[in-house]
Amino acid sequence: MHIPDGYLSPATCATMYGASAPFWYAALARMKRTLHTQTTPLLAVFSALSFIVMMFNLPLPGGTTGHAVGVATAAIVLGPWGAILSISMALVIQALLFGDGGITAIGANCFNMAIAGALVAYAVYRLISGRSAIAAHRRVIAAGAAGYIAINVSALLAAIEFGLQPMLFHDAMGAPLYAPYPLHIAIPAMMIGHLTIAGLAETVLAAGVVAYLQKADPELLEATAPAAARSRVTEAGATWRRTRPLWVSLGVLLALTPVGIVTAGSAWGEWSPADFSNETGRRQIARASGRVEPPAAVPHGLRRLSDVWTSPMPRYSAPFLRSPAFGYLLSAMTGAGLIILASVFFSWLQRRARDGAGGVP
Protein backbone atom coordinates (compact mmCIF):
# COMPACT_ATOMS: atom_id res chain seq x y z
CA MET A 1 0.00 0.00 0.00
CA HIS A 2 3.08 2.25 0.06
CA ILE A 3 2.42 4.39 -3.02
CA PRO A 4 5.68 4.97 -4.95
CA ASP A 5 6.61 8.16 -6.81
CA GLY A 6 5.02 8.48 -10.21
CA TYR A 7 1.67 6.88 -9.39
CA LEU A 8 -0.01 10.12 -8.30
CA SER A 9 0.06 13.48 -10.06
CA PRO A 10 1.87 16.43 -8.43
CA ALA A 11 -1.55 18.06 -7.83
CA THR A 12 -2.79 14.96 -5.98
CA CYS A 13 0.44 14.74 -3.98
CA ALA A 14 0.18 18.43 -3.00
CA THR A 15 -3.47 17.95 -2.02
CA MET A 16 -2.60 14.98 0.16
CA TYR A 17 0.26 16.86 1.83
CA GLY A 18 -2.23 19.67 2.45
CA ALA A 19 -4.79 17.26 3.85
CA SER A 20 -2.24 15.63 6.16
CA ALA A 21 -0.64 18.83 7.49
CA PRO A 22 -3.49 19.89 9.84
CA PHE A 23 -3.61 16.40 11.36
CA TRP A 24 0.17 16.38 11.92
CA TYR A 25 -0.02 19.83 13.47
CA ALA A 26 -2.97 18.95 15.72
CA ALA A 27 -1.42 15.62 16.74
CA LEU A 28 1.90 17.24 17.64
CA ALA A 29 0.21 20.04 19.59
CA ARG A 30 -1.96 17.55 21.44
CA MET A 31 0.95 15.25 22.26
CA LYS A 32 3.06 18.17 23.51
CA ARG A 33 0.18 19.40 25.64
CA THR A 34 -0.39 16.03 27.30
CA LEU A 35 3.11 14.58 27.39
CA HIS A 36 5.30 17.73 27.48
CA THR A 37 8.97 16.74 27.35
CA GLN A 38 8.10 13.05 26.99
CA THR A 39 6.71 13.60 23.48
CA THR A 40 10.04 13.49 21.65
CA PRO A 41 11.52 10.27 23.11
CA LEU A 42 8.16 8.47 23.15
CA LEU A 43 7.41 9.24 19.51
CA ALA A 44 10.98 8.48 18.44
CA VAL A 45 11.00 5.07 20.08
CA PHE A 46 7.48 4.21 18.92
CA SER A 47 8.25 5.30 15.36
CA ALA A 48 11.26 2.98 15.39
CA LEU A 49 9.09 0.21 16.81
CA SER A 50 6.38 0.78 14.17
CA PHE A 51 9.03 0.52 11.47
CA ILE A 52 10.29 -2.79 12.86
CA VAL A 53 6.82 -4.26 13.36
CA MET A 54 6.08 -3.46 9.70
CA MET A 55 8.97 -5.79 8.83
CA PHE A 56 7.55 -8.77 10.72
CA ASN A 57 6.59 -11.47 8.29
CA LEU A 58 3.35 -12.60 9.89
CA PRO A 59 2.08 -16.15 9.37
CA LEU A 60 -1.56 -16.08 8.26
CA PRO A 61 -4.28 -18.74 8.22
CA GLY A 62 -3.97 -20.71 4.99
CA GLY A 63 -0.19 -20.86 5.00
CA THR A 64 0.59 -17.47 3.46
CA THR A 65 2.46 -14.65 5.15
CA GLY A 66 1.94 -10.90 5.17
CA HIS A 67 3.20 -7.63 6.57
CA ALA A 68 1.09 -5.44 8.81
CA VAL A 69 1.29 -1.68 9.18
CA GLY A 70 0.64 -1.92 12.92
CA VAL A 71 -1.61 1.13 12.86
CA ALA A 72 -4.30 -0.43 15.07
CA THR A 73 -1.72 -1.59 17.61
CA ALA A 74 -0.24 1.92 17.75
CA ALA A 75 -3.70 3.52 18.04
CA ILE A 76 -4.67 1.17 20.89
CA VAL A 77 -1.47 1.76 22.88
CA LEU A 78 -0.73 5.42 22.09
CA GLY A 79 -4.17 6.75 21.16
CA PRO A 80 -5.00 8.21 17.73
CA TRP A 81 -2.71 11.26 17.92
CA GLY A 82 0.36 9.36 18.99
CA ALA A 83 -0.36 6.72 16.35
CA ILE A 84 -0.71 9.36 13.62
CA LEU A 85 2.74 10.75 14.42
CA SER A 86 4.61 7.52 15.05
CA ILE A 87 3.29 5.76 11.93
CA SER A 88 3.93 8.93 9.88
CA MET A 89 7.54 9.07 11.09
CA ALA A 90 8.01 5.39 10.27
CA LEU A 91 6.61 6.00 6.77
CA VAL A 92 8.89 9.01 6.25
CA ILE A 93 11.95 6.92 7.19
CA GLN A 94 10.76 4.10 4.94
CA ALA A 95 10.42 6.52 2.02
CA LEU A 96 13.59 8.54 2.59
CA LEU A 97 15.97 5.84 3.70
CA PHE A 98 14.64 2.56 2.32
CA GLY A 99 12.82 3.75 -0.78
CA ASP A 100 9.59 2.05 0.34
CA GLY A 101 6.97 4.55 -0.85
CA GLY A 102 7.73 7.67 -2.81
CA ILE A 103 8.96 11.00 -1.47
CA THR A 104 6.28 12.90 -3.36
CA ALA A 105 3.68 10.41 -2.08
CA ILE A 106 4.60 10.76 1.62
CA GLY A 107 1.57 12.99 2.17
CA ALA A 108 -0.77 10.46 0.56
CA ASN A 109 0.77 7.45 2.30
CA CYS A 110 0.62 9.18 5.66
CA PHE A 111 -2.97 10.29 5.09
CA ASN A 112 -4.11 6.80 4.06
CA MET A 113 -2.25 4.69 6.59
CA ALA A 114 -1.23 6.90 9.50
CA ILE A 115 -4.09 9.41 9.69
CA ALA A 116 -7.21 7.67 8.36
CA GLY A 117 -5.93 4.31 9.59
CA ALA A 118 -5.25 5.51 13.13
CA LEU A 119 -8.53 7.41 13.48
CA VAL A 120 -10.61 4.53 12.12
CA ALA A 121 -8.75 1.94 14.22
CA TYR A 122 -9.23 4.01 17.36
CA ALA A 123 -12.94 4.62 16.69
CA VAL A 124 -13.65 0.95 15.95
CA TYR A 125 -11.67 -0.24 18.96
CA ARG A 126 -13.41 2.14 21.36
CA LEU A 127 -16.81 1.38 19.87
CA ILE A 128 -16.51 -2.41 20.15
CA SER A 129 -14.54 -2.60 23.40
CA GLY A 130 -16.94 -0.18 25.12
CA ARG A 131 -16.51 -0.15 28.88
CA SER A 132 -15.27 -3.74 29.06
CA ALA A 133 -12.48 -4.69 31.47
CA ILE A 134 -8.86 -4.52 30.32
CA ALA A 135 -8.62 -8.31 30.41
CA ALA A 136 -11.91 -8.87 28.57
CA HIS A 137 -11.89 -11.07 25.47
CA ARG A 138 -14.04 -8.38 23.86
CA ARG A 139 -10.96 -6.13 23.65
CA VAL A 140 -9.11 -8.77 21.61
CA ILE A 141 -12.03 -8.94 19.17
CA ALA A 142 -12.21 -5.13 19.11
CA ALA A 143 -8.48 -4.90 18.31
CA GLY A 144 -8.75 -7.45 15.51
CA ALA A 145 -11.75 -5.67 14.00
CA ALA A 146 -10.02 -2.30 14.35
CA GLY A 147 -6.96 -3.57 12.48
CA TYR A 148 -9.02 -5.19 9.74
CA ILE A 149 -11.31 -2.21 9.13
CA ALA A 150 -8.52 0.39 9.42
CA ILE A 151 -6.26 -1.26 6.87
CA ASN A 152 -9.16 -1.72 4.47
CA VAL A 153 -10.21 1.91 4.80
CA SER A 154 -6.58 2.89 4.08
CA ALA A 155 -6.56 0.62 1.03
CA LEU A 156 -9.87 2.05 -0.18
CA LEU A 157 -8.49 5.59 0.06
CA ALA A 158 -5.38 4.58 -1.88
CA ALA A 159 -7.58 2.88 -4.49
CA ILE A 160 -9.72 6.03 -4.86
CA GLU A 161 -6.58 8.13 -5.27
CA PHE A 162 -5.35 5.71 -7.96
CA GLY A 163 -8.73 5.56 -9.63
CA LEU A 164 -9.05 9.33 -9.89
CA GLN A 165 -5.76 9.69 -11.80
CA PRO A 166 -6.90 8.51 -15.27
CA MET A 167 -10.03 10.63 -14.95
CA LEU A 168 -8.05 13.80 -14.29
CA PHE A 169 -4.60 13.41 -15.82
CA HIS A 170 -3.77 12.19 -19.32
CA ASP A 171 -1.54 13.34 -22.16
CA ALA A 172 -2.54 14.78 -25.54
CA MET A 173 -3.09 11.27 -26.93
CA GLY A 174 -5.39 10.38 -24.06
CA ALA A 175 -2.96 7.98 -22.35
CA PRO A 176 -3.20 8.05 -18.54
CA LEU A 177 -0.13 9.84 -17.14
CA TYR A 178 -0.15 8.25 -13.70
CA ALA A 179 -1.92 5.23 -12.17
CA PRO A 180 -3.72 3.96 -15.28
CA TYR A 181 -6.77 2.16 -13.93
CA PRO A 182 -10.15 3.81 -13.41
CA LEU A 183 -12.07 3.45 -10.15
CA HIS A 184 -14.02 0.37 -11.27
CA ILE A 185 -10.74 -1.53 -11.73
CA ALA A 186 -8.57 0.14 -9.06
CA ILE A 187 -10.98 -0.41 -6.17
CA PRO A 188 -11.59 -4.17 -6.61
CA ALA A 189 -7.94 -4.80 -7.52
CA MET A 190 -6.75 -3.06 -4.36
CA MET A 191 -9.46 -4.35 -2.05
CA ILE A 192 -9.22 -8.07 -2.91
CA GLY A 193 -5.71 -8.27 -1.48
CA HIS A 194 -6.55 -6.17 1.54
CA LEU A 195 -9.87 -7.80 2.39
CA THR A 196 -8.03 -11.13 2.46
CA ILE A 197 -4.29 -11.18 3.17
CA ALA A 198 -3.34 -7.67 4.36
CA GLY A 199 -6.50 -7.37 6.47
CA LEU A 200 -5.75 -10.72 8.10
CA ALA A 201 -2.16 -9.68 8.83
CA GLU A 202 -3.37 -6.52 10.57
CA THR A 203 -5.99 -8.52 12.49
CA VAL A 204 -3.48 -11.13 13.61
CA LEU A 205 -1.05 -8.46 14.83
CA ALA A 206 -3.56 -6.20 16.60
CA ALA A 207 -5.57 -8.98 18.26
CA GLY A 208 -2.46 -10.97 19.15
CA VAL A 209 -0.65 -8.01 20.70
CA VAL A 210 -3.70 -6.98 22.75
CA ALA A 211 -4.19 -10.59 23.96
CA TYR A 212 -0.51 -10.69 24.94
CA LEU A 213 -0.55 -7.30 26.68
CA GLN A 214 -3.68 -8.24 28.64
CA LYS A 215 -1.60 -10.92 30.35
CA ALA A 216 1.88 -9.42 30.37
CA ASP A 217 1.55 -5.63 30.55
CA PRO A 218 -2.10 -4.53 30.90
CA GLU A 219 -1.10 -0.96 31.83
CA LEU A 220 -0.18 -0.35 28.19
CA LEU A 221 -3.84 -0.82 27.25
CA GLU A 222 -5.17 1.70 29.74
CA ALA A 223 -4.52 4.85 27.69
CA THR A 224 -7.39 4.00 25.34
CA ALA A 225 -9.61 2.33 27.95
CA PRO A 226 -10.26 5.14 30.44
CA ALA A 227 -13.41 3.56 31.86
CA ALA A 228 -11.69 0.22 32.43
CA ALA A 229 -8.61 1.95 33.88
CA ARG A 230 -10.77 3.95 36.31
CA SER A 231 -12.61 0.83 37.37
CA ARG A 232 -9.27 -0.93 37.91
CA VAL A 233 -8.03 1.91 40.12
CA THR A 234 -11.19 1.73 42.21
CA GLU A 235 -11.46 -2.02 41.83
CA ALA A 236 -11.48 -2.65 45.58
CA GLY A 237 -14.25 -0.09 46.09
CA ALA A 238 -16.24 -1.35 43.12
CA THR A 239 -15.94 -4.97 44.27
CA TRP A 240 -17.17 -3.98 47.73
CA ARG A 241 -20.09 -2.04 46.23
CA ARG A 242 -21.06 -4.95 44.00
CA THR A 243 -20.91 -7.57 46.75
CA ARG A 244 -22.19 -5.44 49.64
CA PRO A 245 -25.76 -6.91 49.53
CA LEU A 246 -24.28 -10.42 49.67
CA TRP A 247 -22.15 -9.59 52.70
CA VAL A 248 -25.13 -7.97 54.47
CA SER A 249 -27.28 -11.03 53.73
CA LEU A 250 -24.58 -13.31 55.08
CA GLY A 251 -24.38 -11.25 58.27
CA VAL A 252 -28.17 -11.40 58.73
CA LEU A 253 -28.21 -15.18 58.20
CA LEU A 254 -25.38 -15.62 60.68
CA ALA A 255 -27.29 -13.59 63.25
CA LEU A 256 -30.40 -15.73 62.64
CA THR A 257 -28.64 -19.09 63.06
CA PRO A 258 -29.74 -19.55 66.74
CA VAL A 259 -33.30 -19.73 65.38
CA GLY A 260 -32.41 -23.29 64.34
CA ILE A 261 -32.58 -24.33 67.98
CA VAL A 262 -36.30 -23.63 68.26
CA THR A 263 -37.17 -25.88 65.33
CA ALA A 264 -38.47 -29.22 66.55
CA GLY A 265 -37.34 -32.71 65.50
CA SER A 266 -34.30 -33.92 63.58
CA ALA A 267 -33.63 -33.99 59.85
CA TRP A 268 -34.37 -37.34 58.19
CA GLY A 269 -31.27 -39.55 58.05
CA GLU A 270 -29.13 -37.33 60.29
CA TRP A 271 -29.47 -39.60 63.29
CA SER A 272 -26.86 -40.55 65.85
CA PRO A 273 -26.63 -44.06 67.48
CA ALA A 274 -28.04 -42.52 70.67
CA ASP A 275 -31.27 -41.59 68.85
CA PHE A 276 -32.04 -45.30 68.35
CA SER A 277 -31.73 -46.14 72.03
CA ASN A 278 -33.84 -43.44 73.66
CA GLU A 279 -37.59 -43.20 73.38
CA THR A 280 -37.75 -39.53 72.25
CA GLY A 281 -35.27 -40.19 69.51
CA ARG A 282 -37.09 -43.29 68.30
CA ARG A 283 -40.39 -41.36 68.18
CA GLN A 284 -38.78 -38.61 66.08
CA ILE A 285 -37.30 -41.20 63.71
CA ALA A 286 -40.68 -42.89 63.31
CA ARG A 287 -42.44 -39.53 62.71
CA ALA A 288 -39.85 -38.48 60.10
CA SER A 289 -40.06 -41.90 58.40
CA GLY A 290 -43.82 -41.99 57.80
CA ARG A 291 -44.66 -43.92 61.03
CA VAL A 292 -42.26 -46.75 60.21
CA GLU A 293 -40.63 -47.93 63.39
CA PRO A 294 -36.82 -47.82 63.49
CA PRO A 295 -34.87 -51.06 64.12
CA ALA A 296 -34.68 -52.15 67.76
CA ALA A 297 -30.89 -52.02 67.84
CA VAL A 298 -28.52 -49.44 66.38
CA PRO A 299 -27.60 -50.56 62.85
CA HIS A 300 -24.18 -52.23 62.87
CA GLY A 301 -22.61 -50.03 60.18
CA LEU A 302 -23.85 -46.82 61.78
CA ARG A 303 -22.44 -47.82 65.16
CA ARG A 304 -19.06 -48.77 63.68
CA LEU A 305 -18.57 -45.69 61.44
CA SER A 306 -20.01 -43.09 63.79
CA ASP A 307 -16.85 -43.29 65.91
CA VAL A 308 -14.42 -42.79 63.02
CA TRP A 309 -14.50 -38.97 63.20
CA THR A 310 -15.54 -36.90 66.18
CA SER A 311 -16.36 -33.32 65.27
CA PRO A 312 -14.89 -30.56 67.45
CA MET A 313 -18.32 -28.93 67.45
CA PRO A 314 -20.84 -31.81 67.37
CA ARG A 315 -24.38 -30.74 66.55
CA TYR A 316 -23.18 -27.15 66.11
CA SER A 317 -22.35 -26.64 69.76
CA ALA A 318 -18.89 -26.59 71.25
CA PRO A 319 -18.58 -28.72 74.41
CA PHE A 320 -17.04 -25.80 76.31
CA LEU A 321 -20.02 -23.49 75.67
CA ARG A 322 -23.05 -23.54 77.87
CA SER A 323 -25.30 -21.44 75.67
CA PRO A 324 -26.65 -23.46 72.69
CA ALA A 325 -27.65 -20.22 70.90
CA PHE A 326 -24.11 -18.85 71.10
CA GLY A 327 -22.76 -22.25 70.06
CA TYR A 328 -24.97 -22.13 66.95
CA LEU A 329 -23.77 -18.60 66.14
CA LEU A 330 -20.12 -19.53 66.68
CA SER A 331 -20.50 -22.62 64.45
CA ALA A 332 -22.07 -20.52 61.68
CA MET A 333 -19.29 -17.93 61.88
CA THR A 334 -16.58 -20.61 61.91
CA GLY A 335 -18.09 -22.42 58.91
CA ALA A 336 -18.63 -19.24 56.88
CA GLY A 337 -15.16 -17.96 57.78
CA LEU A 338 -13.52 -21.22 56.66
CA ILE A 339 -15.41 -21.14 53.32
CA ILE A 340 -14.36 -17.49 52.72
CA LEU A 341 -10.73 -18.33 53.54
CA ALA A 342 -10.79 -21.32 51.15
CA SER A 343 -12.27 -19.12 48.37
CA VAL A 344 -9.59 -16.46 48.88
CA PHE A 345 -6.88 -19.12 48.82
CA PHE A 346 -8.14 -20.71 45.58
CA SER A 347 -8.54 -17.26 43.94
CA TRP A 348 -4.96 -16.47 44.85
CA LEU A 349 -3.77 -19.78 43.37
CA GLN A 350 -5.73 -19.10 40.16
CA ARG A 351 -4.34 -15.54 39.85
CA ARG A 352 -0.82 -16.80 40.37
CA ALA A 353 -1.22 -19.44 37.68
CA ARG A 354 -2.66 -16.83 35.26
CA ASP A 355 0.13 -14.32 35.92
CA GLY A 356 2.71 -17.05 35.47
CA ALA A 357 1.32 -17.83 32.00
CA GLY A 358 2.05 -14.31 30.74
CA GLY A 359 5.85 -14.56 30.57
CA VAL A 360 8.24 -13.68 27.79
CA PRO A 361 7.84 -15.62 24.58
Binding site: G6, Y7, A44, L97, G102, A172, G174, G208, D217, V360
Partner: protein, 258 residues
Protein backbone atom coordinates in the same frame (compact mmCIF):
# COMPACT_ATOMS: atom_id res chain seq x y z
CA UNK B 1 3.32 -11.78 0.70
CA UNK B 2 4.91 -15.10 0.17
CA UNK B 3 4.30 -18.76 0.80
CA UNK B 4 7.34 -20.23 2.45
CA UNK B 5 8.38 -23.10 4.65
CA UNK B 6 10.65 -20.94 6.84
CA UNK B 7 9.27 -20.05 10.26
CA UNK B 8 8.13 -16.64 11.42
CA UNK B 9 11.33 -16.06 13.42
CA UNK B 10 13.57 -16.98 10.51
CA UNK B 11 11.69 -14.86 7.96
CA UNK B 12 11.54 -11.85 10.25
CA UNK B 13 15.24 -12.11 11.16
CA UNK B 14 15.97 -12.15 7.45
CA UNK B 15 13.92 -8.97 6.91
CA UNK B 16 15.58 -7.24 9.87
CA UNK B 17 19.06 -8.21 8.68
CA UNK B 18 18.25 -6.93 5.19
CA UNK B 19 17.23 -3.58 6.66
CA UNK B 20 20.39 -3.31 8.76
CA UNK B 21 22.50 -4.31 5.79
CA UNK B 22 20.82 -1.77 3.50
CA UNK B 23 21.25 1.04 6.03
CA UNK B 24 24.87 0.09 6.69
CA UNK B 25 25.66 0.03 2.96
CA UNK B 26 23.96 3.39 2.48
CA UNK B 27 25.93 4.92 5.35
CA UNK B 28 29.20 3.47 4.09
CA UNK B 29 28.62 4.83 0.58
CA UNK B 30 27.49 8.20 1.95
CA UNK B 31 30.74 8.63 3.84
CA UNK B 32 33.04 7.75 0.93
CA UNK B 33 34.40 10.38 -1.47
CA UNK B 34 32.44 11.24 -4.61
CA UNK B 35 30.70 13.86 -6.68
CA UNK B 36 27.42 13.94 -4.78
CA UNK B 37 29.00 13.20 -1.39
CA UNK B 38 30.88 16.49 -1.58
CA UNK B 39 27.74 18.55 -2.01
CA UNK B 40 25.96 20.34 0.82
CA UNK B 41 23.11 18.12 2.04
CA UNK B 42 20.56 20.95 2.21
CA UNK B 43 21.06 21.99 -1.41
CA UNK B 44 21.36 18.38 -2.54
CA UNK B 45 18.01 17.49 -0.94
CA UNK B 46 16.36 20.57 -2.44
CA UNK B 47 17.89 19.85 -5.86
CA UNK B 48 16.93 16.15 -5.92
CA UNK B 49 13.40 17.01 -4.77
CA UNK B 50 13.06 19.56 -7.56
CA UNK B 51 14.10 17.00 -10.16
CA UNK B 52 11.78 14.34 -8.69
CA UNK B 53 8.85 16.78 -8.83
CA UNK B 54 9.77 17.66 -12.42
CA UNK B 55 9.89 13.96 -13.36
CA UNK B 56 6.51 13.33 -11.72
CA UNK B 57 5.04 16.35 -13.53
CA UNK B 58 6.49 15.45 -16.95
CA UNK B 59 3.99 14.61 -19.68
CA UNK B 60 6.67 13.30 -22.02
CA UNK B 61 8.80 10.17 -21.80
CA UNK B 62 12.04 11.50 -23.25
CA UNK B 63 12.85 13.97 -20.43
CA UNK B 64 12.19 11.22 -17.88
CA UNK B 65 14.54 8.88 -19.72
CA UNK B 66 17.14 11.66 -19.88
CA UNK B 67 16.99 12.14 -16.11
CA UNK B 68 17.40 8.39 -15.60
CA UNK B 69 20.49 8.45 -17.83
CA UNK B 70 21.90 11.47 -15.97
CA UNK B 71 21.23 9.75 -12.63
CA UNK B 72 23.27 6.74 -13.74
CA UNK B 73 26.15 9.02 -14.73
CA UNK B 74 25.90 10.82 -11.37
CA UNK B 75 25.99 7.46 -9.57
CA UNK B 76 29.14 6.46 -11.45
CA UNK B 77 30.69 9.85 -10.68
CA UNK B 78 29.87 9.41 -7.02
CA UNK B 79 31.43 5.97 -6.79
CA UNK B 80 28.06 4.28 -6.38
CA UNK B 81 28.02 1.05 -8.35
CA UNK B 82 25.21 0.79 -10.90
CA UNK B 83 24.83 -2.87 -9.89
CA UNK B 84 24.05 -1.79 -6.31
CA UNK B 85 21.35 0.56 -7.57
CA UNK B 86 20.00 -2.14 -9.86
CA UNK B 87 19.61 -4.70 -7.06
CA UNK B 88 18.43 -2.24 -4.41
CA UNK B 89 16.14 -0.12 -6.56
CA UNK B 90 15.48 -1.21 -10.12
CA UNK B 91 14.64 -4.87 -9.55
CA UNK B 92 12.07 -4.19 -6.75
CA UNK B 93 10.63 -1.17 -8.60
CA UNK B 94 10.32 -3.07 -11.87
CA UNK B 95 8.80 -6.10 -10.17
CA UNK B 96 6.28 -4.08 -8.16
CA UNK B 97 5.35 -1.58 -10.83
CA UNK B 98 5.62 -4.14 -13.61
CA UNK B 99 2.89 -6.27 -12.04
CA UNK B 100 0.65 -3.21 -11.88
CA UNK B 101 1.61 -1.63 -15.21
CA UNK B 102 1.63 -4.63 -17.54
CA UNK B 103 -2.10 -5.45 -17.42
CA UNK B 104 -2.84 -1.85 -18.41
CA UNK B 105 -1.44 -2.67 -21.87
CA UNK B 106 -4.52 -4.84 -22.40
CA UNK B 107 -7.05 -3.18 -20.14
CA UNK B 108 -6.62 0.54 -20.82
CA UNK B 109 -6.70 2.63 -23.98
CA UNK B 110 -3.11 3.67 -24.86
CA UNK B 111 -2.14 1.20 -22.13
CA UNK B 112 1.39 0.64 -23.44
CA UNK B 113 2.21 4.34 -23.26
CA UNK B 114 0.61 4.60 -19.85
CA UNK B 115 2.63 1.61 -18.60
CA UNK B 116 5.79 3.25 -19.96
CA UNK B 117 5.00 6.42 -18.02
CA UNK B 118 4.40 4.51 -14.82
CA UNK B 119 7.51 2.34 -15.10
CA UNK B 120 9.88 5.10 -16.20
CA UNK B 121 8.68 7.55 -13.56
CA UNK B 122 8.81 5.10 -10.66
CA UNK B 123 12.26 3.76 -11.63
CA UNK B 124 13.69 7.26 -12.20
CA UNK B 125 12.32 8.67 -8.95
CA UNK B 126 13.49 5.61 -7.00
CA UNK B 127 16.96 6.00 -8.54
CA UNK B 128 17.11 9.68 -7.55
CA UNK B 129 15.98 8.82 -3.99
CA UNK B 130 18.63 6.10 -3.78
CA UNK B 131 21.31 8.52 -5.01
CA UNK B 132 20.29 10.93 -2.26
CA UNK B 133 20.43 8.26 0.46
CA UNK B 134 23.62 6.62 -0.86
CA UNK B 135 25.44 9.96 -0.94
CA UNK B 136 24.15 11.64 2.24
CA UNK B 137 24.61 10.55 5.85
CA UNK B 138 21.30 10.49 7.72
CA UNK B 139 22.17 13.37 10.11
CA UNK B 140 23.08 15.56 7.13
CA UNK B 141 19.85 14.57 5.40
CA UNK B 142 17.92 15.68 8.48
CA UNK B 143 19.66 19.05 8.34
CA UNK B 144 18.47 19.25 4.77
CA UNK B 145 14.90 18.65 5.94
CA UNK B 146 15.31 21.42 8.50
CA UNK B 147 16.45 23.77 5.74
CA UNK B 148 13.22 22.92 3.89
CA UNK B 149 11.33 24.31 6.92
CA UNK B 150 10.33 20.93 8.34
CA UNK B 151 9.67 21.71 12.06
CA UNK B 152 12.68 21.20 14.34
CA UNK B 153 10.77 18.81 16.60
CA UNK B 154 9.87 16.57 13.65
CA UNK B 155 13.52 16.56 12.52
CA UNK B 156 14.67 15.75 16.07
CA UNK B 157 12.18 12.90 16.33
CA UNK B 158 13.28 11.55 12.94
CA UNK B 159 16.91 11.67 14.05
CA UNK B 160 16.17 9.87 17.29
CA UNK B 161 13.93 7.38 15.48
CA UNK B 162 16.82 6.41 13.23
CA UNK B 163 19.08 5.95 16.26
CA UNK B 164 16.59 3.81 18.19
CA UNK B 165 15.62 1.91 15.08
CA UNK B 166 18.89 0.03 15.25
CA UNK B 167 18.70 -0.38 19.00
CA UNK B 168 15.24 -1.98 18.75
CA UNK B 169 16.30 -3.91 15.64
CA UNK B 170 19.06 -5.51 17.73
CA UNK B 171 16.62 -6.36 20.51
CA UNK B 172 14.15 -7.83 18.00
CA UNK B 173 16.83 -9.88 16.26
CA UNK B 174 18.26 -11.22 19.55
CA UNK B 175 14.78 -12.06 20.80
CA UNK B 176 13.78 -13.89 17.62
CA UNK B 177 17.10 -15.73 17.42
CA UNK B 178 16.89 -16.89 21.01
CA UNK B 179 13.33 -18.02 20.41
CA UNK B 180 14.38 -19.87 17.28
CA UNK B 181 17.21 -21.60 19.17
CA UNK B 182 14.73 -22.77 21.83
CA UNK B 183 12.20 -24.04 19.29
CA UNK B 184 12.26 -27.74 18.49
CA UNK B 185 10.20 -29.11 15.64
CA UNK B 186 7.79 -27.29 13.36
CA UNK B 187 5.31 -24.88 14.88
CA UNK B 188 1.70 -24.80 13.74
CA UNK B 189 0.25 -21.65 12.16
CA UNK B 190 -1.54 -20.73 15.38
CA UNK B 191 1.63 -21.16 17.46
CA UNK B 192 3.57 -19.00 15.02
CA UNK B 193 0.92 -16.28 15.16
CA UNK B 194 1.01 -16.34 18.95
CA UNK B 195 4.81 -16.10 18.82
CA UNK B 196 4.64 -13.14 16.41
CA UNK B 197 2.11 -11.32 18.58
CA UNK B 198 4.12 -12.01 21.73
CA UNK B 199 7.30 -10.77 20.03
CA UNK B 200 5.56 -7.54 19.02
CA UNK B 201 4.10 -7.23 22.52
CA UNK B 202 7.46 -7.71 24.23
CA UNK B 203 9.06 -5.16 21.90
CA UNK B 204 6.24 -2.76 22.74
CA UNK B 205 6.76 -3.14 26.49
CA UNK B 206 10.52 -2.74 26.11
CA UNK B 207 10.05 0.31 23.89
CA UNK B 208 7.94 2.00 26.55
CA UNK B 209 10.68 1.35 29.11
CA UNK B 210 13.32 2.58 26.67
CA UNK B 211 11.39 5.78 25.95
CA UNK B 212 11.12 6.46 29.71
CA UNK B 213 14.85 5.92 30.18
CA UNK B 214 15.65 8.15 27.19
CA UNK B 215 13.27 10.79 28.54
CA UNK B 216 14.97 10.81 31.95
CA UNK B 217 18.39 10.93 30.29
CA UNK B 218 17.26 13.88 28.16
CA UNK B 219 15.82 15.71 31.16
CA UNK B 220 19.03 15.19 33.11
CA UNK B 221 20.92 16.80 30.22
CA UNK B 222 18.74 19.88 30.31
CA UNK B 223 16.03 19.01 27.75
CA UNK B 224 12.96 21.20 28.26
CA UNK B 225 10.93 20.21 25.23
CA UNK B 226 12.46 22.54 22.64
CA UNK B 227 14.32 20.94 19.75
CA UNK B 228 17.31 22.51 18.03
CA UNK B 229 19.49 21.26 15.19
CA UNK B 230 23.08 22.25 14.57
CA UNK B 231 23.73 23.90 11.22
CA UNK B 232 27.44 24.58 11.22
CA UNK B 233 28.57 23.80 7.68
CA UNK B 234 28.55 26.89 5.47
CA UNK B 235 27.25 26.55 1.92
CA UNK B 236 30.19 26.89 -0.46
CA UNK B 237 30.28 28.15 -4.04
CA UNK B 238 30.62 24.65 -5.53
CA UNK B 239 27.47 23.64 -3.61
CA UNK B 240 25.56 26.39 -5.41
CA UNK B 241 27.05 25.22 -8.68
CA UNK B 242 25.79 21.68 -8.10
CA UNK B 243 22.41 23.03 -7.09
CA UNK B 244 22.29 25.11 -10.25
CA UNK B 245 22.86 21.88 -12.19
CA UNK B 246 19.89 20.24 -10.49
CA UNK B 247 17.75 23.35 -10.98
CA UNK B 248 18.58 23.51 -14.69
CA UNK B 249 17.80 19.80 -15.02
CA UNK B 250 14.47 20.24 -13.27
CA UNK B 251 13.59 23.30 -15.36
CA UNK B 252 14.49 21.42 -18.55
CA UNK B 253 12.29 18.48 -17.60
CA UNK B 254 9.45 20.87 -16.78
CA UNK B 255 9.92 22.66 -20.12
CA UNK B 256 10.33 19.65 -22.38
CA UNK B 257 7.81 17.59 -20.48
CA UNK B 258 4.95 20.11 -20.71
Amino acid sequence: MSRTSAGFAERSIHSLLDAVDYAAQAEKRAESAGLLQGMDARLKLAGVLLVIIAVVASRALVPIAAVLGASILLAIGSGIRVRAIATAVWVPALLFTGVIALPSVFLVQHGARSAAFLLSRSVTCATLSALLVFSTPWPALLKGLRALRVPAIAVTILGMTYRYLFSILDVARDMLESRRSRTVGILTGGEERRMAAAAAGVLLSRSVLLSREVHFAMLSRGFRGDAFTLENRPILSHDWLYFAGFAVAAASVFWFGR
